[in-house]
Structure formats: C-alpha cells, structure tokens
C-alpha cells in the first residue's frame, strides 16, 4: 500500500511538524518501505495475534517489574509545550453535543 504526499502532509500537520515539498517526497518513499516491512511480518505470522505473541514472546519476571515509587512528573509548561493551552488543559474541538 503506497502512501501519498497528501497523506504525509496531513500527518505532518497533525503532528505539528513542518515539512517542505522535498521532505514530503522523501517521506512518502520511506513510509512505503516501512509499510512493506509490516506487510512482510504479517505474511509470516498470518496476522493472528497469538502468532504475534509467539514472535515477540519474551517474559519478564514478576520481581523485575517497577517498584511503586513516585517520580517527579513533568512541569505543566513542558507537558503543554506543543499546544495552545486553556488554563492548564489540553483543548480540543468539543467532542460532545
């Protein structure tokens, strides 16, 4: 499945990245390769989730899980640095009527 320059532009806008036309062309090529790679994996495992689990089936011991210790969170300005914030919130277009 090929990906068009227009789709790249939409994705870039959503991710707030600034791409000129040349970068867009480069990216549509790279995306094609990535998707082809994913298709190859899918062909190998037949798309079944249990098979995917087999492929990446590594385990972690219970004892190696993370201890429940509070770490400092990010500063609110940093968390919101990619958006035009409203009173500390992430604003999006209203999702309910």
């Amino acid at each position: 499945m090929a990906i068009t320059e227009k789709e790249i532009k939409t994705l870039a806008r959503l991710a707030r990245l600034d791409f000129d036309d040349e970068r867009c062309r480069e990216f549509s090529g790279e995306f094609g390769e990535i998707i082809a790679f994913a298709d190859r994996i899918n062909a190998q495992v037949g798309g079944a989730t249990s098979d995917i689990r087999e492929v990446g089936g590594r385990e972690i011991a219970y004892g190696d899980l993370r201890d429940d210790e509070v770490k400092e969170s990010l500063l609110n300005e940093k968390v919101l640095s990619n958006v035009q914030s409203e009173g500390g919130f992430f604003p999006v277009r209203r999702v309910v009527k």
């Binding site: 989730t49 995917i52 689990r53 990446g56 089936g57 590594r58 385990e59 972690i60 011991a61 219970y62 004892g63 899980l65 993370r66 201890d67 429940d68 210790e69 509070v70 770490k71 400092e72 969170s73 990010l74 609110n76 968390v79 919101l80 409203e86 009173g87 500390g88 919130f89 992430f90 604003p91 999006v92 277009r93 209203r94 999702v95 309910v96």
Partner: protein, 469 residues
C-alpha cells in the same frame, strides 16, 4: 406476562497504588490539571510504559479475595479507540488472558454472584466540555484500574445494591482501593435484560454506562426494567444498546445502538513483556489476606453472639473491627465493647470517612481496661460511657478518671447491702410494689442513686431487690 430481571455488572475500581500503572507519576486525587503527567502517560512518541508491580499485586489480591483463579502467566493488550481522553488512541488493557478468572462474591443470603474475570488496565483522562471546546486533564490518565466483570447473576435492584456494597467492602478490607463512588474510584456499567419468568434463555440486553452511586444504580435498573417490560409486553423487541442515565429525570436513554458498536481491534501490547508470576508469590499474597467482611459478620453474629444490628453497623469499618478485636483480645467482653463502640465512639465520628479511619485517640487495649470494670460490675453502663467519652477526648487511660473510691459500693456484696438499706428505708414503696405497682420500685432506685452518686448498676440492683422482697 411477568418478567425476570437479569443483570451483570462491569465494575471499574481504581487501585490505591502511589504511582500510575506504567509510569512514576503520582495517582493523588485532584491537583492542578496536567501536573501529574509525563511523556509516558501523555503518550509521547517513543515513551515506553513500565508495569507497576504493586498494581499487579493489588489486582491479584482482589482476585483472591473474590475466590478467582490467578493466571500466573499474563499479558497486556491494546484496545484501540479514538477519543481524546486517551492520548495514545489506545488503552492498554487485557483481552484474552486476564489476571484473574472464575470467582464469586457471596451475598448474605448465601447466593453467589459469579465473577467471570478481573483484568488490569489504565484509566483515561478527564474531559470537561466547555463552550466550543473539550478540555482535557490527563492527571487521571494511567491510574491503575481493575475491571471486575460479573456473570449475569443479579436478579433485582436490591441484589445489585448488595453486590456493589459487598465488593466495596472487600476491596477496602484488603486495602486495594477506597472505592469512593463520588470521587470516581469505583464506577459501574450495568447490563440489563429481561426474560419471561421461568425461562432459561437470556433476552437482549442494554448497558447503562458509568454509574457512580448505588442509589442511581437502583433507580436506573428500575426504570430500565419498566422500559424493557413495556416494549416486550407490547410485542416489541428490545434493541441492544448502550444507555445513559439522567440523574435529574431518573430516566435512561439510548446513547448508541449496536450498529455503531466499535471494533476495538485488540492486539498484544508489544511494549510490555509477558509477565510471569511465581506461584509462591500468589501464595504469599493469599496468606496475607485478612478475614473477609462476610466471614467477619457471620463470626460476630454466630460465634460471638453479638446483636446482629450492631454487628452490621461495625463490620463495614475494618479499622473499627480491628479496634474491637484488640479490646476483646485484651479481655473485654465482646457485647459491652460493641455497645460502647456503637453508642459512644461512633457518636463522636461524624462522617463515613471518620468511621473508616477510626482514629479515636485511644487503643482498643486501653478501652479494654475500662470495659473490664463494666464487665465485672465494678461500674455501671452510664459511668462507662461517660468515662469512655473522657478517655477519647483526652487520650488518657481509665486510671485518670476512675478511682477506687468511685468503684466502692459497686461490687455485688456492697450493692446487696445498699439494696437492703433502701428496702428498709422505704417500707411504703415496697408494700406498693408488692401490691402490683411496678413503678413503686423507682423510689428504691432514688435511694441507691443518692447513696452511690449515680454509680449503682440499676439493672443489677433490680435483680437484687426483686430477690430480696
């Protein structure tokens, strides 16, 4: 035709861990918006989730306390849906291998509400809808949840209430959640269908989403029962749908129907490895479970022979039970201890939260020193109550308030002597009493009260007086 209500619950319970399920951000309730956030819980590209051990332990505790089997090899899955309360556009949850399966919650009648599964997942952020905007706060996003899915074994709003209350109590007893519905740390989705009485076949069900109070659950179930019964008795078909409950009108309404049901495209979460929990760890957790609420209630009533109504008042508060049991272990009688808790201690604890904490200033063992005096007839109930109130007020022991002087005249021999005095001093009252005037005995109480500054045990004195005249 009469219809039977068939209901199953999906209950979300926030786990009382210090940190979120996949990052070290605090789970503290409240806080300025988006201040308990980091790259992981806001879904920044490249950030990797790391599973919180305590969340897994708490979920196992919850599973064992509801008699579930534990899947010691378990993994997480992605549930994909696009809504702004999830910054990653998927929720990390569990699909085909939940941590716990096949348990039950027992009701007081002995009926068991079967638990199909309990899985762990992350909570979503909170949305505030304002003018043309939806404002998002991700502080709650990533807080660990368990989802407890029951079988459709609930057959009335009353049973639903008891099921939710029992779940709440169990979770509080085992310390995995405060289950405060008003703060959202416990929320229920209620599935309801109807079938003709006696029929085995399940009808088409609707699901009422996100209920946050037991009273609302009962109301919504009654309304939905009526709505479905009307459709069915009119020869119609109930449409499978997700419903919303309106608190102000008390009515349910359709939010979305089966046609727009989402396909969550579950697949294994590649960022988190399969977890392998040693059986020894499960055993350790099992052995650390306290006596569960219903077992405790039954023991209080059947073994300790406590008044059922009072036992019911105390068993809801684990800390109060611990205090009670400490006093009893120190030699106080269960009956007097419970009466003093319900009568004197509880009256000083105004809120549910205060009762829950049961931070009363003296230990159960300290109280036992007072209660033993009451048990032995050295003081009467009124003095015990007054003294306990003072002890709670000051935190001081009983010796501060009751001296040997106070107890003089209160042992059986002394009381008998005083009763004889009272009889000798009130021949007319005694004659009246013998003639059938029950109330005449009050004159003798008056004498005893004056002689002992109100410390005489009236009940015991009555027995003695009756045996003497």
């Amino acid at each position: 035709m009469k219809y039977e209500l068939v209901s199953g619950f999906e209950t979300h319970v926030e786990l009382a861990t210090a940190t979120k399920i996949f990052c070290g951000c605090t789970t503290a309730f409240g806080g300025e918006p988006n201040t308990h956030c980091c790259p992981v819980c806001t879904g920044q590209p490249g950030a990797l989730p790391v599973l919180n051990k305590k969340a897994v332990e708490f979920a196992i505790r919850a599973g064992l306390a509801t008699h579930c089997e534990i899947n010691t090899v378990t993994h997480l899955d992605r549930k994909n849906y696009c809504y702004p309360d999830l910054p990653k556009a998927y929720q990390i949850s569990q699909f085909d291998k939940p941590l716990c399966e096949h348990g039950y919650v027992e009701l007081e009648s002995g009926k068991k509400i079967r638990i199909l599964r309990i899985h762990i997942e992350e909570d979503a952020g909170k949305l505030v809808h304002e003018r043309g905007f939806t404002l998002i706060d991700y502080n709650r996003g990533g807080v660990p949840l368990i989802e407890i899915v029951s079988e459709p074994d609930i057959s009335s709003p009353e049973e639903a209430r008891e099921y939710v209350e029992k779940l709440q109590l169990i979770m509080r007893y085992i310390g995995v959640s405060d289950c405060k519905m008003q703060e959202g740390s416990m929320r229920c989705d209620v599935n309801i269908s109807l079938r003709p009485e006696g029929s085995e076949k399940l009808g088409t069900r609707t699901e009422i989403k996100n209920m946050n109070s037991i009273a609302h659950i009962e109301k919504a179930m009654r309304y939905e029962y009526g709505r479905q019964a009307e459709i069915l008795s009119g020869g119609g078909k109930v449409e499978q749908a997700t419903m919303r409950f309106d608190e102000t009108t008390g009515e349910t309404s359709v939010m979305r129907t089966k046609e727009d049901a989402q396909d969550y495209r579950y697949f294994p979460e590649p960022d988190i490895l399969t977890v392998n929990i040693p059986q020894s760890e499960v055993d350790r957790i099992k052995n650390s479970l306290p006596e569960l609420p219903l077992e405790k209630l039954r023991r209080y009533i059947d073994v300790l022979h406590l008044n059922a109504q009072n036992a019911r008042l105390i068993y809801k508060y684990k800390a109060a039970c611990d205090w009670f049991e400490e006093a009893v272990a120190a030699g106080a009688s269960p009956k007097n201890t419970l009466n003093l808790i319900v009568g004197t201690v509880f009256s000083r604890l105004d809120t549910e939260e205060d009762k829950e904490k049961f931070d009363v200033g003296i230990s159960g063992a300290q109280a036992a020193e007072l209660i033993k005096l009451l048990d032995g007839g050295k003081i009467n109930a009124t003095l015990a109550q007054m003294t306990l109130a003072k002890m709670l007020e000051t935190g001081d022991g009983v010796e501060k308030f009751i001296s040997a002087e106070d107890m003089r005249g209160m042992d059986d021999g002394e009381l008998t002597r005083l009763c004889k005095e009272a009889i000798a001093a009130n021949p007319q009252a005694v004659a009246d009493y013998k003639a059938g005037k029950e109330k005449a005995i009050f004159a003798l109480y008056g004498y005893l009260k004056r002689a002992t500054q109100g410390k005489a045990d009236v009940q015991k004195a009555t027995e003695i007086i009756k045996s003497l005249i």
